[in-house]
């Protein structure tokens, strides 16, 4: 058998395993950040008992969820009810495959990575819809339908907002996009409108405040998750926070130069040292955006569902089209 193929296969298996393992600490870190930062902004201390400065609180929560009883409602559709958390979680975990952490540290460097990403992340809506239907609960049903409407609507401006960037860079691969940003400066300067649309839509896509329609605890208890308990609920919870991390990571790769430092990349750093340098910058930028998302949650109330949909169709979509139009003309006129 071909040795090259075997090596590639082995590398792929290793990378996917590592990424799957990475989701757990990532979720813990993001949840911990959320608890602590919101608490500080509320003039509370937040978790400060478990571990130094309370840093193990979210870990303990994770184990607590593991230890809880896993209940299924009497009249739930048992098989789909069981399957839904996996669908949501795997959608999040699979989209991590194309995240460019650092030069050389990308699990699968597809030439259509951006398309793959949006295709796979959109799958989570199926899981939420299934969860909402299978639970035999009206809150869950309303939440599931809301999530379907919301995510399908926001997919469109979300995808269109980056078409401008794709047209500029002329590639669908994350690593080539970052290489383009190394030569031409971060896309933030080229696509400010695209960035704005992308940020708003991505918050809606991962159900973050002010667009957390799906859960909406003051109206729908916990949306599609209402009837879930134990580790199944844990999977939803993990997926949500991993998705937040992923969205921040994609935002960074698309508009903020991915692993690039704010100043020119030191040429002498190659190989492993270069990878570490890239990982450092990548994670720093990503967690800054996670912080901003948490900060928004601490501040804002939730918009209403009709306002949310109106914004997607009446504001973001036309804006994204205009942005795409201007970019295309500029590309033709200035021959970028």
């Amino acid at each position: 058998m071909d040795f090259e193929l075997l090596l590639g296969l082995g590398r792929f298996v290793l990378a996917t395993t590592l990424l799957l393992l990475l989701t757990v600490p990532t979720a813990f870190v993001v949840i911990q950040m959320e608890m602590k930062i919101i608490a500080q902004m509320n003039l509370r201390f937040g978790p400060n008992r478990i571990g130094p400065k309370g840093i193990f609180q979210s870990t303990i929560h994770g184990f607590k969820v593991l230890a809880k009883e896993d209940t299924v409602p009497d009249q739930a559709d048992r098989s789909t009810f069981t399957l839904a958390p996996w669908m949501v979680f795997m959608a999040a975990a699979m989209s991590m495959l194309v995240i460019p952490f650092a030069p050389g540290a990308i699990a699968a460097d597809f030439n259509i990575g951006i398309v793959y990403f949006f295709a796979v992340l959109g799958l989570s809506v199926v899981g939420l819809l299934v969860a909402g239907w299978a639970s035999y609960n009206k809150y869950s049903l309303l939440g599931g339908l809301r999530s379907a409407a919301q995510m399908v609507s926001y997919e469109i401006p979300l995808t269109l907002s980056i078409v401008g960037a794709v047209v500029l860079a002329g590639t669908l691969s994350f690593s080539e996009l970052i290489a383009w940003q190394l030569d031409h400066g971060w896309l933030l300067m080229w696509q400010p409108i695209g960035l704005g649309i992308f940020y708003v839509s991505s918050l809606a896509e991962v159900n973050r405040t002010p667009f957390d329609m799906v859960e909406a605890d003051s109206e729908l208890v916990a949306g599609p998750f209402t009837e879930y308990s134990g580790m199944r609920f844990g999977f939803f919870f993990f997926a949500e926070y991993v998705a937040l991390f992923i969205m921040s990571a994609i935002l960074v790769s698309l508009f903020f130069g991915g692993w690039l430092a704010p100043w020119p990349f030191p040429a002498q750093l190659g190989g492993f040292a270069g990878t570490l340098y890239g990982i450092f910058w990548f994670f720093l930028k990503t967690y800054i955006f996670v912080f901003i998302a948490v900060w928004l949650r601490a501040t804002l109330p939730r918009v209403r569902v009709d306002q949310l949909m109106g914004m997607a169709w009446k504001v973001l979509l036309p804006l994204a089209l205009v942005n795409l139009f201007i970019t295309a003309i500029a590309v033709v006129v200035f021959d970028l």
């Binding site: 919101i38 309303l142 002010p210 957390d212 109206e219 208890v221 109330p301 209403r304 009709d306 306002q307």
Partner: protein
Amino acid sequence: MTKLDPETRIPDPIELDAIEEARLRAAAGLAPIRSSTPEYAGFDQVGIPDRPPQTEREREVYSLEEGEMLINMGPQHPSTHGVMRLVVKVRGEIVVDIDPVLGYLHRGIEKLCENATYTTVLTYVDPMDYLATMHNEHAPAIAFEKLYGIRPPKRAEYIRALVVELERVSSHGLMMGFLALDMGGLTPILYAFINRDEIVDMQSAISGQRMLFNFFRVGGVNFDTNDEFLSRLGTWRGHVLKNIEMNERMITDNEIFRARTINMGTLSGADAISLGVTGPNLRASGVPFDVRKAHPYSIYHELEFDVITQQSGDSYARYLQRIAEIKQSIHLIDQIMDKMPHGPVQAQVPGIIRPKPGRAYAAIESPRGLYSVYSISDGGPNPYRFRMRDPSFISLQAMPKLMPGRLVADTMAIMASLDPVMGGVDK
């Protein structure tokens, strides 16, 4: 059913209850409870009572047309205030009809009070409107004084007005927070509680209790002010406006908040009057009625203040009305502290009061509106009849008028803007 152990002959009480319930249901001609219903059968029928409708209104709410379903908001729901149950009939997400179901917190306070002496009645009314405990005591105290024919000393009246206005600041402050919380804003409620905690500490310094102060007496108040109370009051007065402003910065200009409250749940002045809504909810609809001004009690005729009103009558106006009243109350507190006379705080009253037969009515302006007490004496040590009009209960009447046509998300926001307290509604 499992076989009973012949040794012990102690049947499982749950089993016994089930048997008993089945027997009673059979006797009442009701369908037996099915242990397992067919899958997805009548999903939209869940929540409809399994007995024939008792009233015309019930028939209207519980008969569904094509595409409608019932949702139970409460009594256990993350955002119902207390234990209130709203049966919401929805078409998709749009509310078609709403039926508030009350009584989950009913404690029979009126009846308890009729069995208590006049002095102890003042302890029973405390947990009614638990965000305005001092107000709860104020009205019965005035009514009993009218019955017994005494007047409290001047200083007692001033101390009463002081603690009552403090309570109003804390209650209205909390309403800001709860309104934001029901729209998903996590932070304002915690900022509001900072303010409230200081006020509760202050009031516990003067009365010796938290929450349920039990501070008013027939013919005065329990204690005079002390240094601890006054120093806490001074500290609090120093930064209360800053605290309220901090919360206002979070809410008042926030675009999302405005989009969700302006033109939402609009209650016209005429509707409000015909429904009997009082207090800030009425004044937000443009009707200048304030019991403190219209029927002055205690020392309010000696204080300078205006009746604040808003014009639009929507949720946002109700919110602004509360903010304005907080500032007004702080202004009143300043005046009270300036004018407070010296003297005793308690009139000479026997331990067991036996008023002459007669009846008395007293109304006050509580944070939720006109709170009044009607008491009849038959000459004995207990009130023969003791009746309370709670403003939250009346405010809830407006809900079926405000909600239809809105979304499910708005039910909670509108309800929070009316600021009902279930302890008072259910009594």
